[in-house]
């Protein structure tokens, strides 16, 4: 995992052996807590914050 803080540009080494390299952009929800049978109305209480992920 390579963190890239806001306002900076990350440097990612290209995997030179691959012939089919893709990226996926992800919405990351960082959870502070969890559980089971959480009602949908309370689900977002468990989210600490959001981030953008590049996979």
């Amino acid at each position: 995992m390579q963190p890239v803080p806001v306002g900076t540009v990350g440097d990612h080494p290209y995997p030179s052996l691959t012939k089919n390299y893709h990226y996926e952009l992800e919405l990351v929800a960082a959870l502070r807590s969890g559980g089971t049978r959480i009602p949908a109305s309370q689900a977002l209480d468990h989210v600490y914050g959001y981030a953008v992920g590049l996979e």
Binding site: M1, H22, E26, Y48
Partner: protein, 244 residues
């Protein structure tokens, strides 16, 4: 029952069972060999006679596991009685180390102990009993193992020793794992990352789009349509991937 409290001796589980009978002839099966349950181990010779804590340090197998409760009882016993070696048994494997009689460290009454043993068996059986009736189980557990939560937790000598030796971690963990953290925008703190759950509601379309070649290896992918993973029940067609 408060007035009838007394010291009691618990026998090893199964000791009070009736002797097995031959169903056809109604005669006792002989000899009545003690039944050994799977998972129960006597101390191997190289660690017999050592103190329980030291035994665990040398043999991680003796650490807590599915049989942790039973081991706890046996440890307690070992704090109260001299080990076979200390009693002069030349082999170090005295009779009592094979068939332990379990003496409780605390004071309890008969009814509670019987209840506790039932709960304990259920707990060992696992499944839903392991989760339900938590309060009752804990009280039974506490009574059995001399841990009284109302008195502020563990008080037995065995537990004190385990704490002094650093607890279970000493027995089990061969290495430590560094915590992965991410910076938090607008804060000097960092976010501790534990697991990464990857959820893709459009995985099927994505897979088609990619010509179904990219995720040919399924090792890290759980893509059952019903239960993506054992821990999560997700809506059908959702895909989840867990990276630890």
């Amino acid at each position: 029952m408060r007035g009838s409290r007394q010291r009691v001796v618990l026998r090893a589980p199964g000791a009070n069972r009736p002797a097995p009978q031959n169903r056809r002839t109604d005669t006792p099966v002989s000899p009545a060999a003690p039944r050994r349950r799977a998972g129960r181990r006597d101390a191997p010779p190289e660690v017999a006679g050592l103190h329980a804590v030291e035994r665990v340090r040398r043999h991680p197998r003796h650490g807590p596991g599915r049989w942790a409760g039973r081991l706890a009882v046996r440890w307690q016993r070992s704090t109260l009685r001299p080990s076979p070696a200390a009693r002069g048994s030349p082999s170090g494997l005295g009779r009592s180390s094979r068939r332990p009689r379990i003496r409780l460290a605390g004071v309890a009454d008969r009814g509670r102990i019987r209840d506790a043993s039932v709960v304990h068996r259920r707990r060992q059986r696992g499944g839903r009993h392991a989760e339900h009736g938590d309060r009752g189980r804990r009280r039974g557990h506490a009574k059995t193992f001399g841990i009284d939560p109302r008195r502020g937790g563990r008080r037995s000598a065995a537990d004190r020793r385990m704490r002094q030796h650093g607890g279970w971690a000493v027995a089990g963990s061969p290495f430590t794992v560094a915590t992965v953290t991410l910076p938090i925008a607008g804060s000097t703190q960092v976010f501790p990352v534990r697991r990464i759950y990857c959820i893709g509601r459009n995985y099927a379309a994505h897979s088609r789009e990619m010509g179904r070649t990219r995720h040919a290896s399924r090792r890290s992918f759980s893509r059952s349509r019903r239960t993506p993973c054992s821990r999560c029940r997700w809506a059908p067609s959702a895909i989840i991937r867990i990276r630890h």
